[in-house]
């Protein structure tokens, strides 16, 4: 019995009978939902004459979800990305299912994505309010009063690159090109971290936003990010290349957290998990021989130093 349970007409047209109208599940066959993984695990790995004679499905559910989380961070394909136009406030609210970013870029007129680099030279600290004597101010509950915006952020957000062009003030820069030219490069030589013209960003985790340098105002910016694969039911799927690794992860997790399990069993499944995980990683890394050949053709180039 095959696993496909739709006709080809249903697959291509979807329930509404219209071609490519976003209700189809194109490419869905490569993924397995988490419910299928949990149910199959309970059938195939739990019971009499098996290494796990009994386990709560809630435990399996937990370990399966943890496996998806772990694998999402470094192995499963992550295609999440969001594009916005940077507002004058120079921020980008982090997506609901954001865990970490992989790449931030702005799109030029040709549609080419130009990488934007993360900077360490600024941040958005909490700004305590002070009175005329520089002492902290408190509210009625005895908590320190804080400003809505830190002075650091205000200054970073001010249109410094334009004002630099006008007054040539080397201390009001946040355009990295100008910064390296006026502040760093001039005195100590170029700093590679700052030697690019695409702008910079940093993640303001306290406020859940990405903040950009002022030169990116109005630009089209794309955030590529990773999630943990558990944000929604549609997300809770595993690529078929990684299904075996998920089973091994659950097996090892259940056995290693259970009291009185023979250590050789734990060790066996630890090794099996390691091997399955490596296989999945290799398969999912999209290494194609033709691509490797194409890249290796570069070897005949002369590299000048």
């Amino acid at each position: 019995m095959g696993l496909i349970n739709k006709t080809q007409e249903e697959y291509y047209l979807g329930p509404d009978g219209l071609w490519n109208s976003h209700d189809e599940d194109y490419g869905g066959y490569q993924f397995v939902p988490i419910n299928d993984i949990i149910n199959t695990f309970m059938v195939a790995y739990v019971g009499e004459d098996k290494n796990i004679s009994k386990v709560k499905r809630t435990d399996v559910q937990f370990h399966a979800m943890r496996a998806i989380q772990e694998f999402s961070f470094d192995m499963l394909p992550q295609d999440k990305s969001i594009e916005i136009e940077v507002p004058p406030g120079l921020f980008f609210i982090l997506p609901q299912d954001y865990v970490n970013f992989t790449k931030v870029s702005w799109t030029d007129n040709q549609g080419i994505e130009r990488p934007i680099y993360r900077t360490n030279i600024t941040s958005n600290p909490k700004a305590f309010l002070q009175d005329g004597a520089f002492e902290y101010m408190y509210d009625n509950d005895g908590n320190v009063l804080k400003a809505d915006q830190s002075e650091t952020l205000k200054r970073w957000n001010s249109d410094a690159s334009n004002s630099v062009a006008n007054n040539n003030n080397a201390f009001n820069l946040n355009n990295p090109d100008l910064l390296s030219l006026y502040a760093y490069g001039r005195r100590y030589g170029i700093d590679p971290e700052l030697a690019q013209a695409n702008g910079t960003f940093y993640i303001d985790n306290a406020n859940g936003v990405v903040r950009f340098s002022s030169d990116l105002n109005g630009r089209i910016v794309t955030l590529k990010y990773i999630s943990d694969g558990l944000g929604s039911d549609e997300d809770m799927v595993v690529h078929k290349f990684a299904v075996d690794a998920i089973y091994k992860y659950i097996l090892h997790a259940v056995l290693s957290t259970r009291a009185n399990t023979q250590e050789y069993l734990v060790a066996r499944y630890k090794r099996e998990l390691s091997a399955a995980r490596r296989n999945a990683k290799i398969r999912l890394s999209q290494l194609k021989s033709e691509l490797i050949v194409q890249v290796m053709r570069n070897q005949s180039k002369w590299i000048k130093h």
């Binding site: 249903e10 509404d16 937990f62």
Partner: protein, 251 residues
């Protein structure tokens, strides 16, 4: 499949009267019969536990777990559970002996291309609810990674009945259970004709146990009868046979 109560009674009487040891009245026999039936029935669960720990064998008719399951399947039943609006719990069927699985019928709505585009299709997918303790429920419901969903429900049991939780608590409909029912009470019915009890099949209820339990029933009833008529020798012989059978079956 059932074991004829009259056959068992006649055998018991025949063995007891063999050496004029005594007589078991129909009333006494009915009491001993039901005691024996329950005794044998309850032992199935412990035997399954015992044989579940062994590797078993691949023969067609002699794997102990298969044999025991065949005996117990006679009592396995499915029924819809009833939502009690007073106690706000699910009430099990009246003849429940042991609960097996509680099944929640998860309603899934999808759209289909057939017979016409965008036809709404509603299907009920039965999913087993997992048994947990109430204190566990309090913990797992707090965590996004473990909390129950409609496709992975849980249930909690207490004296009022059962609580079933999917994405929210399940009430009113859509809960069924798979359970072991109580064996029907066996009765040797009779009519008094000329001062003698004559078997009346219309007033009798046979043993529900598997046909293979006939011998076991006779021996167990003989044990009780031996005690009742104060024939210790009878009791010892019957108990010896039972012990020998058990040893042979379970070693």
């Amino acid at each position: 499949m059932a074991v004829s109560i009259d056959t068992v009674y006649q055998r018991v009487l025949a063995i007891l009267n063999k050496e004029q040891r005594g007589y078991v009245t129909p009333q006494e026999f009915n009491l001993f019969a039901n005691q024996s039936q329950l005794d044998i029935f309850e032992q199935y669960f412990y035997d399954i536990n015992q044989f579940g720990r062994l590797s078993g064998n691949d023969t067609e008719f002699s794997d102990m777990l298969n044999i025991l399951n065949e005996k117990i399947n006679i009592f396995e039943a499915n029924a819809a559970m009833v939502w009690n609006t007073t106690t706000l719990h699910w009430t099990p069927p009246a003849n429940l002996y042991r609960i097996g699985s509680i099944v929640y019928e998860n309603t899934i709505t999808t759209k289909s291309l057939y017979p016409t585009p965008n036809t709404v299709v509603t299907t009920k997918v039965p999913v087993e609810a997992e048994r947990i303790n109430y204190n566990e429920y309090l913990a797992i419901a707090q965590s996004g990674m473990t909390k129950p969903t409609n496709s992975r429900p849980v249930f909690v049991a207490n004296t009022s009945g059962y609580k079933v939780y999917g994405a929210s608590e399940v009430t009113l409909t859509d809960v069924k259970c798979n359970y072991i029912k109580k064996p029907t009470e066996a009765a040797w019915g009779y009519q008094m004709i000329y001062g003698e009890a004559l078997y009346d099949s219309t007033a009798s209820t046979n043993f529900e146990l598997h046909a293979s339990e006939e011998t076991e029933l006779v021996i167990k009833i003989l044990e009780f009868a031996g005690l009742a008529i104060e024939d210790i020798q009878m009791y010892q012989v019957a108990a010896g046979i039972e012990s020998q059978t058990n040893q042979q079956e379970k070693s």
